[in-house]
């Protein structure tokens, strides 16, 4: 699978995957200790997709994420410290504790939104790409979504609109085979999700989403393709959701054997094995990275646990931004001209 990938890229990909994995494991632990409110959807087993794709992106390429979004945010370079604080509902979380696990967004950091509504981000990605096109920039928008979202009207409206307007989007379907307890084969009529994209005239590919180098190379090619040909493309990355739908899921809908079987194919060990066989000189470096990631996430947890609760007064802030339209002035027909307006 190797092409002209630099040592730095190998290391970045590994670091990104490891950070995501440790972050998610930390969430699992915190969840068991009742430190996490609501639900947290873990990305364990799918790390290669976020890591591989985000590694190819420019600062001004924007991503849109989902309810299972921690991996995308970390992949895009958000600081695990502030992410962790957000998940713990703390003052210095990315969203000041107002968003939580499912709603991380920061346009300056390149993530427009995650989304608690399945498929809800897809039409938004179309508009983001429209803006890129109107500004004539050589950037792309990455729209991540799961196989469950494929069943939403928004999927079809967005794919169609992106295609007729020839917008710079890479649609990335993370097909982890499950939508809560329902298997994709029982919900999606097409044999492969990628077939649906062909109906909209898009170039679409199916890849092994657990093969980090394949993901990375595909994303590079597709990004070039989008910028060169001006139009959306589609990647269906086949993967498997190794954790429950959310931390604490009973998982009665699938067998232990199925999960154990899937663990054999998980992306991080696969990458480590590949490195051992093909770039053994990097083994030591990878061990260092592993240690650094563990430390970084441990520190993130410590930071988040020690951070303070948001002051209640902030609950009333950020509903609106107050510009000049909000300044009280008497502008009305009757006295227009009298008051100097």
């Amino acid at each position: 699978m190797e092409k002209n990938i630099t040592t730095e890229t190998y290391c970045n990909l590994y670091r990104s995957m490891k950070n995501i994995r440790y972050f998610e494991e930390a969430i699992q632990t915190l969840y068991k200790k009742n430190e996490i409110r609501g639900s947290a959807h873990l990305y364990i087993g799918e790390e290669a997709i976020a890591a591989g794709i985000c590694e190819t992106l420019d600062k001004e390429d924007y991503i849109l994420s989902t309810h299972r979004g921690h991996g995308h945010s970390i992949g895009k370079g958000l600081d695990p410290k502030y992410m962790m604080a957000e998940l713990l509902g703390k003052e210095h979380g990315y969203c000041k504790g107002k968003g939580g696990s499912m709603h991380i967004g920061d346009s300056k950091e390149g993530i427009l939104c995650s989304n608690g509504i399945v498929g809800g981000g897809m039409p938004i990605s179309v508009g983001a790409a429209l803006s890129v096109k109107l500004h004539k920039k050589d950037n792309v928008i990455i729209c991540f979504f799961g196989d469950g979202a494929v069943c939403q009207g928004n999927f079809h409206e967005s794919m169609n609109m992106a295609a007729v307007w020839k917008l710079p989007i890479i649609f990335v379907c993370e097909n982890n085979q499950w939508a809560i307890s329902t298997n994709t084969k029982d919900t999606v009529a097409a044999k492969d999700v990628a077939d649906l994209a062909k109906a909209y005239g898009m170039k679409s590919v199916i890849i092994d989403g657990n093969d980090i180098l394949k993901v990375y190379e595909t994303a590079l090619e597709m990004r070039d393709e989008v910028i060169k040909n001006q139009g959306p493309v589609f990647i269906e990355a086949k993967t498997y959701r190794l954790s429950g739908h959310y931390a604490g899921d009973s998982e009665i809908y699938r067998t232990k054997e199925e999960i154990l079987e899937a663990w054999k194919d998980e992306p991080i060990i696969r990458f480590e094995e590949w490195i051992a066989n093909n770039r053994p000189e990097l083994i030591e470096k990878f061990k260092e990275i592993e240690q650094e990631c563990r430390l970084e996430i441990d520190e993130a947890v410590k930071f988040a646990l020690e951070d303070s609760d948001p002051p209640v007064s902030t609950a009333l802030e950020d509903v609106f931004t107050y510009g000049s339209a909000w300044e009280r002035r008497d502008v009305c027909e009757r006295n227009y001209g009298k008051t100097g307006n």
């Binding site: 969203c95 500004h135 001209g337």
Partner: protein, 335 residues
């Protein structure tokens, strides 16, 4: 034909339709990041005939016909607004917002808040509602209360060409998602509009007529109905004060409060179904906050609680009319 107004500026008589078109034209001319999109709005000028001429002026990039996809129309406006453009999206009929409801209530209304202000959504969603035209139950609704119920949306509902233009210009320049509600019966209504730039702020009601006996708060097309009967009521010895809030969120309660402190009587008129309507909200708030000022119960006027029927006789019966509004005003005078 124009005349010089009091402040020395040039004032013309134009229709609501022209006022909206002018506001969009001026803002698109000023700021190349403003663009419009919607179904059939380009060469055709829109089903509402509001966007005529814009396509020729600004071209296909900035005057965009969209596929028939209301969810994607609103969603793409949101996404574009997140990245330094200022979209104005048109949803042809208010009734169609049902199709894009998630994008409005869970996305547009919430992203600024959910991200603690890290994302901004400077977008305007224009739509057209209301009845009296025999358009039937799926093309005649007044759904504003659904949106005032959802924190995070500026809800604008003007009644005169002057207010339409000044508020739309404010909406386009504002950095929040704005739902801008037009009424099908108002498009051809004429009124005085200055030719120079002016902006009407949000949350500032307009006292359309000063009076002493009863405060009548009315919105959108209802303002016109009420204003048209004000002289007749005056001849019968009832001097009404007419308040048009112009924006429902933010809502200018202060102006209503001051007026009720003067008149001690209040009638609230809106076209929407009475149950859970904005009129009932105003009524409830006045009762909660200034009960002791009232000399009479607050009365509300709104559509009967059935879908808007097609036949003229039925639609006339279901929607608020002159008689019903007058009856309410006379009734509060009896106390």
């Amino acid at each position: 034909m124009g005349v010089h107004g009091r402040g020395g500026m040039f004032v013309r008589e134009i229709t609501v339709r022209q006022a909206i078109n002018e506001a969009i034209t001026e803002e698109m001319t000023r700021d190349s990041n403003v663009f419009i999109m919607g179904e059939d709005i380009a060469q055709y000028g829109g089903s509402l005939k509001v966007t005529g001429g814009l396509y020729d002026k600004f071209g296909p990039d900035r005057v965009r016909n969209t596929p028939l996809s209301e969810s994607a129309i609103v969603g793409s406006a949101i996404g574009a607004s997140m990245l330094d453009t200022r979209p104005i999206a048109e949803i042809t009929y208010f009734d169609f917002v049902g199709v894009s409801m998630d994008q409005i209530m869970n996305q547009a209304a919430k992203w600024q808040y959910m991200t603690g202000g890290r994302v901004q959504l400077p977008l305007v969603l224009r739509t057209q509602g209301g009845g009296y035209r025999g358009n039937g139950a799926q093309h005649s609704q007044s759904l504003e209360a659904i949106f005032t119920h959802i924190p995070g949306l500026v809800v604008v509902m003007p009644s005169s060409p002057f207010d339409f233009k000044g508020l739309l210009k404010s909406a386009i320049r504002d950095n929040n998602p704005v739902l801008f509600i037009e009424h099908k019966m108002l498009y051809n209504v004429k009124g005085k509009v200055p030719s120079e730039d002016y902006f009407i702020p949000f949350g500032c009601a307009d006292i359309k007529r000063e009076g002493t006996d009863v405060t009548v708060v009315a919105t959108s097309y209802m303002v016109k109905l009420v204003m048209d009967m004000a002289d007749e009521l005056n001849n019968q010895g009832i001097n009404i004060e007419v308040i048009d809030p112009r924006t429902l969120n933010p809502f200018d309660f202060e102006t209503v409060k001051k007026s009720v402190e003067k008149t001690h009587r209040l009638v609230v008129v809106n076209e929407a179904h009475k149950t859970c309507s904005f009129a009932r909200e105003v009524s409830a708030r006045v009762v909660e906050e200034m009960f002791s000022e009232l000399d009479a119960p607050v009365l509300t006027v709104g559509a009967l609680d059935v879908p808007i029927p097609y036949a003229k006789s039925l639609e006339d019966y279901v929607l608020p009319d002159k008689q019903r509004i007058m009856d309410a005003i006379k009734k509060v005078m009896k106390y």
